[in-house]
Symmetry: C3
Subunit: 136 residues, 3 copies
């Protein structure tokens, strides 16, 4: 009996406070075409990973930022490829691609695709990710 | 006895994980007077509602964005009226209105008014809304 | 026995819903060098404190915003000193300082220092702070 109650208590404790004991999970929103901000984001992602090598990071790219993820156009293409090797996921909004006439093969290799960028950010927050809006 | 314990366990589970099973709730912060970003927000809200017709969405408008919600001045007035019909709430900061000398009757019909825009965004986050900062 | 179960139930309830009954906790991200936005932030912080005098507020300053926190350079130095007296914490990113060659004694008195600004914002969100991205 006591064991059962202890288990419940432990379960509740973990449910309520467990997040801070887990891997840090962060979703970044990238929505600007300002190149200085795109370089800043690449640097910030590396800084966070230097500090927390196990952090689970997803960057959701949409709207004016689509060029950030385009082959031969992105000023941070090599940084993005390196960040993917460090475990960062880049999720590109299909709605934006459709509106701007961008095809999957124009996007930097390794990217993921999501139907609606903002919905993806919402779902990540719902599943316990902290949210950071990139840009200034 | 077992029934009681099961109930507690169920209650804890719902408390901890219930949010992801509910309607998606999103609070947007709109604080910029850049017109391109105001059009983007209107489009994004429609995209999210096309994807999640039952999403509960509030847009908090404050600071430089007040013109976004002003009759005969907003470049997205007709979109805002349509979005209200789709269930989106627009909450305008009274502090901003006071500082800029804007009266209630100058604001697009159907808007709500809140004393402090940022406090409203905080309260929405506290009650389980995901947060999206509009603009770039 | 009933007392124990009641206690567990109470504990779970507090764990799940307690946040909304506590002091409002807010972490602001300040990352822009646009002076108009720096003045806006100072005003917004005062507005929130006028509305919620007990709010626990931390402003994390990083990237291009570092000048916001520099003695004799910040256009809101006197406001920052007053806000500190009202209980606001200003946390400056050491990574940014290192990259820009800024020393601790160049930063407005009373500031805190954190290794990675974005990591600080993430930790605050993990511990129940609402997040507000300053700027437009």
């Amino acid at each position: 009996m006591k064991l059962i109650i202890s288990s419940i208590l432990l379960f509740c404790t973990i449910s309520a406070f467990g997040q801070s004991q887990q891997t840090h999970k962060i979703v970044f929103q990238m929505a600007t075409d300002v190149q200085k901000e795109q370089s800043s984001l690449a640097r910030q992602l590396n800084n966070v990973l230097d500090y927390w090598p196990d952090a689970e990071i997803e960057v959701v790219v949409h709207s004016a930022a689509i060029q950030f993820m385009m082959k031969d156009q992105s000023i941070v293409e090599s940084e993005i490829l390196k960040l993917q090797k460090r475990g960062v996921t880049f999720a590109v909004c299909r709605n934006t691609m459709k509106r701007k006439g961008v095809e999957e093969n124009q996007i930097i290799t390794g990217a993921h695709f999501v139907p609606v960028g903002i919905a993806e950010i919402v779902e990540k927050q719902e599943s316990g990710f902290a949210y950071i809006k990139a840009g200034y």
